[in-house]
């Protein structure tokens, strides 16, 4: 909790601490009548309840209470050491009065502005973009704003092909033989299967070698595949030769 929100219940004032500050500074409550000790006690009680010490809030409270103490001490004690001629009660009142009158002027003006605002905010204004025809330069009024060179440069950049990445340090570790073996095993165990379902989590190189193995098997009539739509699932199934191979295998068994 911020010190400003500290709830006070004093003889001359009840409410949050920051409101007390405000009314004291506006001289609506005389600081002479405010018991600062009670405020400190209230704050200590609050700290005890809260259980832990919020350093920021505590600092804020110290600064506020210190400035109140200073104000109050000035109010109660004559201050000859400042060397300024002491204001008589009448002069002090004059100075204070001038300040209060000035404040009242703007408090009344504020009331007037608040009335204007209450009336004005009932009107709603239109917030809409201009129609497109007004948002672009008109042909007659248009003059050169860009260089054609910019277009040529943009096109030139698009024509650039980046150099092939240097892959000499990567040694392929995917064996075509091994992929062929896996595919043959899958076809004999499952009959047909979805390519992505089985190989989607493999890296690109493995997928590519697997596809290459599939091509090889297709060429030999061991496998065929179907893709009903672009980018759709690829269904792999045994080829005609595979059927005979399997049946011959069955016969061998």
């Amino acid at each position: 909790m911020r010190a400003a929100e500290l709830d006070l219940d004093l003889d001359v004032f009840a409410g949050p601490f920051d409101l007390l500050m405000a009314v004291v500074l506006r001289e609506e409550v005389s600081l002479a009548e405010v018991s600062l000790g009670d405020i400190v006690v209230a704050y200590l009680e609050h700290l005890e309840e809260a259980g832990d010490l919020d350093l920021d809030a505590a600092t804020e409270f110290l600064v506020l209470i210190a400035s109140l103490l200073e104000l109050k001490s000035r109010l109660l004690l004559p201050s000859p050491e400042e060397g300024q001629p002491e204001l008589g009660p009448e002069e002090a009142a004059d100075e204070l009065l001038a300040r209060m009158l000035e404040y009242r002027r703007y408090r009344n003006a504020a009331a007037h502005l608040s009335r204007l605002f209450a009336a004005g905010r009932r009107y709603t204004y239109r917030i809409a973009p201009l129609p497109p025809v007004l948002r672009r330069a008109s042909l007659e009024a248009a003059s050169q704003a860009y260089e054609a060179r910019q277009l040529g440069e943009a096109l030139g950049a698009l024509l650039l092909v980046p150099p092939e990445p240097d892959t000499s340090h990567i040694r392929p570790t995917v064996s075509l033989e091994r992929r062929l073996g896996i595919l043959r095993g899958l076809l004999s165990r499952r009959g047909s299967f979805d390519f992505d379902e089985v190989f989607a989590r493999e890296d690109r190189l493995t997928q590519a070698v697997t596809l290459f193995a599939l091509l090889e098997m297709h060429k030999r009539g061991e496998a065929s595949w179907e893709q009903r739509e672009l980018f759709g699932p690829i269904e792999i199934s045994p080829g005609t030769a595979a059927a005979t191979a399997t049946s011959s295998l069955a016969r061998d068994d």
């Binding site: 703007y106 502005l113 239109r126």
Partner: protein, 189 residues
């Protein structure tokens, strides 16, 4: 409606900000006097209570606004939040800026007797005041904006009443003085 009146209405409809008579005259290729007559005619057609749209003379120009009769329906349709009213601190700070501009925050705080940091920050955020440079002592000074005039229905700052009109009456002043003197005597005793 004459063609000029129609064009003026269309321009006010399209323009997001209030438009001055001079700007309208240039756009319409007409004299300011002709534009003024067209504006008067338009104001008659759109007089309060006639239509859903009214002509407002604000912020040094002319603009169209939806009549308050549509206030609630507009909020339902556009789901724009209701403009929050001004707090006392904001209204006081705004009044000080409006009358004393350019004015610094310490000056606002001196007159109000309390720090006015958050009120000034909120008024700036709401676009009602803006920074307009620095004082001799390096403090940022503030002035009101065109949006302030638009939202408060002022055609210009000169439409604000004289500040002296808001001074307390001589009787109030006498009474204040009496109260202060009495308090001073108590303190002295």
């Amino acid at each position: 409606m004459t063609e000029l009146e129609r064009i003026v209405e269309a321009l006010l409809f399209l323009s997001p900000e209030p438009v001055s008579t001079a700007e309208l005259a240039v756009a319409c290729e007409a004299s300011e006097a002709e534009v003024d007559r067209a504006l008067d005619a338009l104001e008659g057609v759109l007089a309060d209570g006639n239509r859903g749209v009214v002509l407002r003379r604000v912020a040094g120009g002319h603009t169209l606004a939806a009549d308050p009769v549509a206030e609630d329906a507009a909020r339902r349709l556009l789901s724009r939040p209701r403009t929050p009213p001004l707090t006392q601190a904001q209204a006081e700070s705004l009044a000080i800026v409006a009358y004393l501009q350019p004015v610094s925050r310490p000056e606002i705080a001196r007159i109000r007797g309390v720090s006015s940091e958050s009120a000034v920050a909120t008024l700036t955020e709401r676009g009602l005041i803006e920074e307009s440079g620095r004082s001799r002592f390096g403090a940022v000074v503030y002035r009101t904006t065109a949006l302030f005039e638009k939202l408060f229905g002022l055609s210009g700052l000169d439409e604000l009443p004289e500040a002296s009109r808001f001074d307390p009456s001589p009787e109030d002043e006498r009474e204040l003085r009496q109260r202060l003197l009495k308090a001073g005597e108590q303190r002295a005793s």
